[in-house]
């Protein structure tokens, strides 16, 4: 079996390999030697250019328009501090490669866990069977490119001792429990990973990158007299451990605890149509679901999406501008280039109410004869890329957030949202409030239980009548058959007349 993963110290590793093989699986080297050989988490993912070239040629052997090879190595750590105990720690080492062939509208895909020449070429062969059009494409010579990076790291994750990660978790745990006596339990989830990618395409693109990611989740349980509430706060960036200097874990913990305690006093939410003000930040998940997904170009090229045929048309209120930008420095949805090698950039999707752009990947851009926007993303080598959002937000407006509330006679003030979903064909969406309050006579008053908000995408964006000047963001996970790291953002906005799923009939 030919190893295509020689690593940084090929001589030592080969030596180690021979030692390892002599003793079967038993460890033959001294622990110190093994440590120095294997601790190289930051080591570059190395696959010879020659093999990538061969794979692309094999992929296009039966024809096709486009082929790419994606190689990935992911080293991850996940730690859980819950009920005062470091309960579990998970270390992950995953690697693999996928080969894709596009022939007309068709996609062939195969992947392998084994980064050997034999298995990668076999994947290329399996993917190649899709091609039947007879169109021949000669892969261009691979030329390695350097691209600007939007991810700056001060404290690289691979240089951080686990004790430092645990210290950060402890800080959050103590801050959560210390917030209020009613906080009975805190759960601190720490996850980080380094994802190395190699992308080689039949268009001659060859890119290598290493991408760090941190995801930190605090959940707190508050127990009241006759109810309980689990609060949550999440921090995430493509960054090193310096993320916690800018986003202190204590602050996140106190925010989760505050939500838990406040919601113990929550009353029944009203039911029916009303005006809704959504606070700045993660509330942008509203447009992520309601507008973002229907603007992903796979729905458009298949002519099933809610926004088909609406390019250039006025679809929203004048004050509504929506952007997807995968180049915001260190954001959770940011990468230097997408998983097909397309450069990330700021894409204005809806400008002053006019639909100006869809989010594309290689396939949908080709089908629609549009530009590639940098939205071809995949969860891992086990999936082929599809159009996905990155950091998606409503551009800031001119209104002061306090004026927006003051000018709302009655309705619902949504401080934070759990998440939601949309049917991209019909545009019908829903999302669930985490923390919401009644608005009575222009004032935010009592908290109400988590209610569902529902509507239709084409309708909702015409009903936004106030956009604040306080743009902010929140990190999240987006699922569309495969998961993606995203950010959603917005300033405080008001939507007139949206259906709220409460339990209380209004008088």
């Amino acid at each position: 079996m030919k190893d295509v993963f020689p690593g940084l110290q090929p001589i030592n590793r080969r030596k180690f390999l021979s030692l390892g093989l002599q003793g079967g699986l038993a460890l033959a080297a001294t622990p110190v030697l093994v440590r120095s050989l294997l601790a190289g988490e930051g080591q570059k993912l190395q696959v010879p250019d020659e093999l990538l070239k061969k794979a692309l040629a094999a992929a296009l052997k039966r024809g096709g328009d486009f082929a790419d090879v994606y190689v990935e190595n992911r080293v991850s750590r996940s730690l859980l501090l819950e009920e005062g105990r470091f309960k579990s720690a998970v270390f992950g080492l995953i690697r693999g490669a996928g080969v894709r062939v596009i022939d007309g509208d068709k996609t062939g895909y195969a992947y392998t866990d084994e980064l050997t020449e034999e298995k990668i070429l076999r994947a290329a062969e399996v993917a190649s069977f899709i091609a039947t059009s007879g169109k021949k494409t000669q892969p261009l010579a691979l030329k390695e490119q350097k691209r600007p990076s939007y991810i700056r790291v001060k404290i690289p994750l691979q240089e951080v001792a686990d004790a430092r990660r645990m210290e950060i978790m402890k800080r959050a745990h103590e801050a959560a429990l210390g917030y209020d006596q009613r906080i009975k339990m805190a759960s601190i989830d720490y996850y980080d990973e380094i994802r190395d990618r190699i992308i080689a395409t039949s268009e001659g693109v060859l890119l290598r990158s290493s991408l760090p990611l941190i995801f930190f989740i605090v959940q707190t349980l508050a127990v009241g007299n006759n109810t309980s509430h689990m609060g949550r706060e999440r921090l995430s960036r493509h960054a090193g451990l310096e993320m916690f200097d800018e986003l202190p874990p204590e602050k996140a913990a106190r925010e989760a605890a505050r939500e838990s305690v406040v919601m113990l006093e929550a009353r029944e939410a009203p039911a029916g149509k009303m005006d809704v003000v959504i606070q700045n930040g993660w509330g942008g998940v509203l447009v992520h679901e309601a507008v973002g997904h229907p603007l992903e170009a796979d729905n458009i090229s298949r002519e099933t999406g809610a926004f088909v045929g609406k390019l250039g048309q006025k679809v929203a209120a004048d004050i509504f501008t929506m952007v997807d930008d995968g180049s915001l420095p260190n954001f959770r949805g940011t990468t230097d280039f997408d998983d097909e090698g397309t450069q990330m950039k700021k894409n204005v999707l809806i400008e002053n109410g006019v639909l100006v752009k869809y989010m594309t990947d290689v396939l949908s851009a080709k089908q629609l004869k549009m530009e590639r926007t940098g939205n071809g993303r995949r969860e891992s080598f086990r999936y082929y890329p599809i159009p996905r959002m990155t950091n998606t937000y409503i551009e800031k407006g001119k209104d002061k957030p306090e004026d927006i509330v003051a000018s709302t006679k009655s309705g619902l003030y949504v401080q934070s949202l759990s998440g939601g979903s949309v049917n991209p064909t019909t545009g019908v969406f829903n999302f669930t409030c985490r923390e919401a309050y009644l608005i009575e006579d222009g004032k935010k008053t009592v908290p109400v239980r988590g209610a569902t908000l529902i509507g239709s995408c084409l309708d909702i964006i015409t009903k936004i009548d106030a956009v604040g000047n306080d743009l902010d963001f929140g990190p999240g996970i987006c699922g569309k058959g495969q998961s993606a790291e995203v950010t959603a953002g917005q300033p405080t906005v008001r939507i007139r007349g949206i259906t709220v799923g409460g339990t209380r009939q209004r008088g």
Binding site: L25, L37, K87, L93, T112, G272, K273, V428, T452
Partner: protein
């Protein structure tokens, strides 16, 4: 590759390296998925893959590492990582591995003929279901049809002498149909999953259901915000079951984070309601001879005639609670620690025909679609978006879209006053059609 040998070898290394206990969980398999749109193949994906999850316990501390690279040095690193991680954690004497060598006999988990069926036949199945859906009058577009299959083998070995394995298979196909009328667009999706290829429903049946779901929702009318009866179709059973599954999670109960935590032996639902968790069902999509850490599976009622009978436990949570594991250790894959989850989980069938339930309803909604997170497992609150068919005087009157339904678990579960006989155990989490006497509906 000899996965059993790898598992046993890795356990041996763990013991040599000083682990008190060790467990190797190997998952291997292959998958095929394909999509067809407007009669043409849109994508075909094929792959086989494998991975190892390694749990080690050292001084009552638990470490875990996973890897999909079985070269000797990578397996060595995995052992070292798991042990290094174990050292830094908090000791907990409940961290133990199970030692029951038994396996529950479950029939019909693996279709040995699945991989022998030619690819062309599977493509033809997807093409056929799509073309049949498009032939239905009023269906204007296809959202595509899919066929998918997978086969997997689980090998589990631990240092207490367990070595168990089983093979399983699954296959399924489905189609999305779109009905358009003027500016209106309505979509319906239906699929069928089975362990055996020969058990798949005829494509005509799947196509008709997808088309019906899209067509019956055309020309919806608004309804006023009101309280009325809510009938849940089996398609939306998760709206009730999801929250219950989380609330009877034994670890969540220990943490005080469940609305059912203090209700054991008490009435939590209408007398009509019996809920079963069954890991032993023949050909069941969530059946297995042992759970995610090797404990034999069983069939047991968690709610019987409205009384809460028990929670779900893995070995760790059971020991903490002072009970026996119920065989409910769940694994998301080789890359996850055993959590807690159900097997085939369902509300047992009642006696009424679904049409009798509709006929007995003066005013209410037959809910076909629910969105949102279902019942909140912590406090039992529920709010969801809904769509379905409005019922007046025992008859379906018109479709409704964009409504909400909301209440509490207590109100919903105790309010169930009619239960259908239409339980379909080919689904892993399901219920018959059931009626909640009265619930808040949000509309105009």
């Amino acid at each position: 590759m000899d996965y059993r040998a790898i598992a046993e070898q890795v356990i041996k290394i763990c013991k040599q390296k000083g682990a008190d206990q060790a467990e190797a969980y190997l998952a291997s398999g292959r998958e095929l998925s394909l999509e067809v749109r407007n009669g043409k193949i849109e994508s075909i994906q094929e792959a086989s893959s494998y991975g190892l999850g390694l749990r080690v316990i050292s001084g009552h501390k638990l470490g875990f590492a996973y890897v999909n690279d079985f070269r000797p040095e990578s397996l060595e690193e995995t052992v070292r990582r798991a042990l290094d991680f174990a050292r830094i954690l908090t000791a907990d004497e409940n961290n133990v591995l199970p030692d029951d060598p038994a396996m529950t006999e479950v029939r019909g988990l693996y279709d040995p003929g699945l991989s022998q069926i030619p690819l062309d036949r599977k493509i033809a199945l997807a093409r056929e279901v799509e073309s049949l859906a498009l032939k239905v009058k009023g269906i204007t577009r296809s959202e595509g049809a899919r066929y998918g299959e997978s086969e997997s083998e689980i090998v589990l070995a631990n240092s207490l002498g367990l070595v168990k394995s089983y093979k399983s298979s699954g296959c399924g196909f489905g189609v999305g149909a779109i009905a358009e009328k003027g500016e209106q667009k309505s979509s319906g999706y239906e699929s069928c999953q089975r362990r055996f290829f020969a058990d798949l429903k005829p494509p005509a049946e799947v196509a008709k259901r997808a088309a019906d779901l899209a067509l019956e929702m055309l020309d919806p009318r608004p309804v006023k915000t009101q309280r009325a009866a809510v009938i849940l179709d089996p398609d939306v059973a998760f709206a009730i079951l999801g929250g219950i599954i989380q609330a009877i999670n034994g670890e969540r109960v220990l943490q005080g984070a469940s609305f059912l935590g203090k209700k054991l032996g008490q009435k939590i639902a209408s007398e009509l309601i019996t809920i079963i968790d069954d890991g032993t069902l023949e050909k069941g999509l969530a059946s297995a001879p042992f759970d995610g850490e090797g404990v034999p599976t069983q069939k047991r009622p968690v709610v019987e005639n409205g009384i809460l009978k028990g929670f779900l436990y893995n070995t760790y949570a059971a020991r903490r609670a002072g009970v026996k594991s119920t065989g409910n250790a769940s694994r998301g894959g080789f890359d996850s620690l055993p959590g807690i989850g159900p097997h085939n989980f369902y509300i047992a069938a009642g006696k009424m025909k679904p049409e009798e339930i509709i006929a007995a309803t003066d005013r209410g909604v037959l809910v076909k679609e629910v969105t949102g997170y279902g019942i909140n497992p912590v406090n039992g609150n529920f709010s969801g978006g809904a769509a379905g068919l409005w019922i007046e005087n025992g008859k379906i009157a018109f479709p409704v879209k964009g409504i909400t339904i909301a209440g509490t678990a207590e109100e919903m579960l105790n309010g169930i006053d009619m239960l259908g006989n239409d339980l379909d155990l080919n689904r892993s989490r399901t219920a018959p059609t059931l009626r909640i006497k009265s619930l808040q509906i949000g509309g105009e």
